[in-house]
Amino acid sequence: MRAEGVESLYPFLYAVDGDLEGVLAEVRRSTVEKATEIVALRRRLAEEQGERLAACAAEMAARFETGGRLLTFGNGGSSTDAADVAQLFLQPRQGRPLPAFCLGSGMAILTALSNDVGFDVVYARQVAAFGRAGDMVFGISTSGGSQNVLRAFEEAHRRGLLTVGMAGYEGGQMAESGLVDHLFVVPSASVHRIQEAQTTAYHVLWTLVQEALGPCAAPG
């Protein structure tokens, strides 16, 4: 029996809504659900888009062989994916280092373009400044509808760059635009699962590019 006086002195010992074991069980279940969901989503991606990833990697490898560079971009969590793609190609632990850089990493450039022109042009203007016809762009979005990503694809497409894109849901405007040569859509309605599957997809893409480039490139 709890003494009410003691309970008011030490409320943390008797937290009324504090069924800790119940909440812990709930969150454990949630983790198991999410883990199972992403494993299934990756399996579906392998089946439905594995061949297309290999075809994209072959084209990218050919461009790298002739001096092409990879420019990457995205917003929010996807900007960290863009940064991860660029650093993986540029300085892999194993395999061939390749020229790649992320257009979201220069704070002065991003804020200057946003402040002076508008956020929609932050990547397109950089594609115009850096992009050569033999280069490639990699744009990533969960919705497929980020205006600055779409504008960058438009600029890259116009200049003859190879355009590679990743999106979620049903691909959004990225799928409708016709501007993306190789588009990989993760068929999920969860932003989190989409990002997780995209991470695997671009890692696999990198591995396939390394394989296409030659024997020294095979990662462990």
């Binding site: 069924d19 709930e26 949630s30 392998a46 594995g50 990833l53 993986l88 632990r93």
Partner: protein, 210 residues
């Protein structure tokens, strides 16, 4: 089997291993939620791919993708090249996170270090410094966990059993998405957030030692 399918296939086992970490993740979320509840903030750090994780985690907490979830304070210590290169040039690369933790860390905060093999010296130093200051310490690692697996400075450790840094990173992304989501589940049950006022379930840090 094509290369692409083989590559996806070797993710299945590490993906399912996350299920085994459900208990650890739940305990870490509980401790993190208690720290946020006390007014603490999250300080995140890592190198290379781990630096991109640090920034992703920061934006996840500060600007939630799910409408209606409150913004929680989180900062990446790897985001500013001015600061990172400045400290690295003067004190050495191993100190880049520890230095920032000394200046920016409060005892109620959470330090979260990301290292795909557990062997990043600056991540280990950051966690040690954080523990000394009384912060809750959480680490995401891979492989055998390296020195982080046995470090007394780490309160909560999730290790992805893979030696491939890319595979480890992918499982980390799911892990921190789940960490974010479940911290908010604990927020829906505020009664359970006051049960571990110190937040150090294993060994008490200096700030909570009586």
């Amino acid at each position: 089997m094509t290369s692409a399918v083989r590559e996806f296939d070797r993710r299945v086992e590490p993906g399912l291993a996350l299920v085994e970490s459900a208990e650890k993740i739940a305990r870490a979320c509980h401790a993190m939620a208690a720290r946020f509840h006390r007014g603490g903030k999250l300080l995140v750090f890592g190198n290379g791919g781990g630096a991109t994780d640090a920034e992703h985690i920061a934006v996840e907490f500060v600007h939630p993708v799910v409408v209606g979830k409150i913004a929680l304070p989180a900062l990446s210590l790897a985001a500013d090249p001015t600061v990172v290169t400045g400290i690295a040039a003067r004190e050495g690369f191993a100190e880049v996170f520890a230095h920032q933790l000394r200046q920016l860390g409060d005892p109620a905060d959470i330090a979260l270090g990301v290292s795909s093999d557990g062997r990043c010296a600056n991540v280990r130093r950051g966690l040690e410094q954080a523990r000394e200051l009384g912060l809750l310490t959480v680490a995401l690692a891979g492989g055998d966990g390296g020195p982080l697996a046995t470090s007394p400075a780490v309160d909560h450790l999730v290790v992805v059993p893979s030696d491939d840094p890319q595979v480890v990173k992918e499982m980390h992304v799911t892990t921190y998405h789940v960490l974010w989501e479940l911290v908010h589940v604990f927020f829906e049950h505020p009664g359970v957030l006051t049960e571990i006022p110190g937040g150090h379930p294993r060994t008490p840090g200096p700030a909570v030692t009586p």
